[in-house]
């Protein structure tokens, strides 16, 4: 193999390039990005929006990185088609790039709902530095911001804009915020916390129309209520950027289907990151878990297999860590089991009397399937590992939620861990 071409200059792409270079200095590596920046910490844009970090902190890999690792970086180049038969990628400007091996790591984009006027100016996704900068510009002229969707992205935007002293209204279709990653009780804790800090949350309502003449001026809810605003953030989840591969012969479902070596159905093409639909270690089925840590791992796995190591991927997981107004939560896996109390499902819960701490673990046949830790988050990583490896925890089940739970409790459970007893 002579030339590895990577589409996408973020977590998965960089991780792949980096892991190749750790062992191989010869392979030519080219990275293609449609954006204008060297790799940045995408997840930090919400911190940038809130003013918690400055722009310079967003740098993930600076120019030196590409130089030092002999990686050719092509910025502002959008790939529009893959010609798998010719081992070529076609760019927007019609140029064609040859490759021997291709890694598709071009990520995902915000989902925009089919609403009248949704493409008006002032209606933004929250995915890129460009989005964030535009949002910051708009925040100077629009005293009100409306957020469509009460998921993680939407609330992060809401939090950031609230910190910029905007009047923030979150419009949520479901009865609760964060319903994808939390259960009812924990999501209520967050809802309360957000409301206490002045964020208005309109649950059970949806947007019918974005009103305005080219520029967004107001939104109209399904209740008929009209809210004047020039800034609307769409936080309705992301969708993998599959346009690129539609005619390439690469098979895809929700995202690009990959095997446990991150390989697509075409032997010279791998996929990783938010675009990849890999095996979910906890849900035990293929799914897109568009998360930074998964992308880094998948990039690494792809790299090792591109170099012929036959390294299997243990699988991705849905997992999130977030903190709003001093209230942190970490959750992973299933947070709302399909049939609580049946099919071997079991929930164990602990909470403090003042309702500031909440911990819940979901088990199926004594294997951890998911967990939510609110406000006391330390040690949850131990459970995540046990869940990923499907370890039977029946012998230590009663200790899992105790405040003195710690790693040594898992000593007798059989799974591979670093030796650190004498």
């Amino acid at each position: 193999m002579k030339h590895l071409l990577i589409i996408g200059n973020s977590a998965a792409g960089i991780s792949c390039a980096e892991n190749i270079r750790k062992k191989d200095k010869e392979i030519k590596i080219t990275i293609l990005s449609k954006e204008d920046y060297t790799a940045y910490n995408r997840c930090l844009i919400s911190y940038y929006l809130s003013g918690d970090v400055k722009e310079d902190k967003l740098i993930y890999r600076a120019k030196d990185f590409y130089k030092d690792n002999a990686i050719e970086l092509l910025l502002n180049k959008k790939a529009i088609r893959i010609d798998a038969k010719k081992n070529q990628v076609v760019l927007e400007d019609k140029t064609r790039l040859d490759y021997d091996v291709l890694l598709v790591a071009n990520g995902a984009s915000p989902k925009f709902p089919e609403i009248k006027g949704i493409r008006k100016k002032g209606v933004l996704g929250f995915r890129t530095i460009a989005d964030t900068k535009e949002m910051l510009d708009m925040s100077l002229v629009s005293p009100v911001a409306c957020i469509l969707g009460g998921g993680l992205i939407g609330l992060k935007a809401a939090y950031g804009l609230k910190k910029r002293n905007l009047d923030v209204k979150v419009i949520v279709k479901s009865p609760q915020v964060l319903s994808q990653i939390l259960d009812k009780e924990s999501s209520e804790m967050f809802q309360r916390r957000l409301i206490e800090h002045g964020i208005e949350i309109l649950t059970g309502s949806d947007v019918q129309e974005v009103i305005g003449n080219g520029d967004c001026k107001a939104i109209k809810l399904d209740s008929g209520k009209v809210i004047a605003t020039s800034l609307v953030v769409v936080g309705k989840g992301v969708t993998p950027n599959t346009d690129l591969i539609e005619e390439s012969g690469i098979s895809f479902d929700e995202g690009i289907k990959v095997d446990e070596y991150m390989k697509t159905n075409i032997p010279t093409i791998y996929a990783a990151g938010d675009i990849a639909q890999a095996y979910d270690a906890i849900l035990e089925k293929a799914s897109v878990n568009a998360l930074w840590p998964n992308a880094v791992e998948q990039g690494m796995i792809a790299a090792r297999n591109i170099m012929g190591e036959n390294k299997k991927y243990a699988g991705s997981t849905g997992m999130n860590s977030v903190e709003f107004f001093g209230l942190p939560v970490i959750s992973f896996g299933m947070t709302r089991p399909p049939h609580p109390g049946e099919d071997g499902y079991e929930e164990i819960v602990t909470r403090d009397k003042r309702n500031t701490i909440y911990k819940k673990i979901i088990l199926k046949n004594n294997v951890i399937k998911g967990a939510i830790f609110v406000n006391k988050i330390e040690n949850i990583g131990i459970l995540l590992k046990l869940a990923k490896l499907k370890v039977d925890v029946s012998t230590i089940k009663d200790t899992l939620l105790r405040s003195d739970f710690n790693f040594s409790v898992t000593k007798d459970l059989h799974y591979e861990k670093e030796e650190f007893y004498l």
């Binding site: 930074w292 942190p328 330390e378 990583g381 131990i382 995540l384 710690n406 790693f407 040594s408 004498l422």
Partner: protein, 145 residues
């Protein structure tokens, strides 16, 4: 590289490791001064009650370091000689590393919203917890194969 190993049978939970860790990572590095410093540093090692005795635990500096993969702020990196490297300046307190650590070895410092983790006392190249453990329940030796 050298690693920290623990012997729960020898650990008396005196917490000397916690104290020398906190002091060693304080600006003054002096017990009597550290105690009155505004933000008294948190120890990155903690002594737990374990199944077979008391159980000190700090970052394992493990080879597959899922925390590095999870870090969204590029504050963490891994060096095959020095172990896990933490650029505290870059940490934003997202707690992704807490989520990823399979040992529960990352602590959260709510005061500056940054994570706290063992740096193997890189400043003196000799972890204070092992150096000062009165019963040698913590030792710093070449990695066991």
């Amino acid at each position: 590289m050298k690693k920290l190993y623990y012997d729960p049978k020898k650990c008396t939970a005196c917490k000397t490791c916690e104290i020398v860790c906190a002091i060693g990572h304080s600006p003054s590095k002096d017990l009597y001064t550290a105690i009155v410093e505004d933000n008294v540093s948190l120890p990155s090692v903690r002594v737990y009650v374990g199944q077979e005795g008391n159980f000190p635990l700090a970052c394992r500096h493990c080879k597959d370091h899922p925390c590095v993969n999870a870090c969204i702020a590029s504050a963490l990196s891994y060096d095959t000689e020095k172990g896990l490297l933490f650029n505290k300046e870059k940490c934003v307190g997202c707690w992704m590393c807490v989520m990823a650590c399979p040992y529960g070895a990352v602590r959260t410092d709510k005061r500056d919203n940054k994570s706290v983790r063992c740096d193997l006392c890189a400043d003196i190249n000799d972890p204070r917890c092992a150096k000062n453990c009165p019963t040698k329940a913590i030792v710093y030796v070449e990695e066991k194969k």
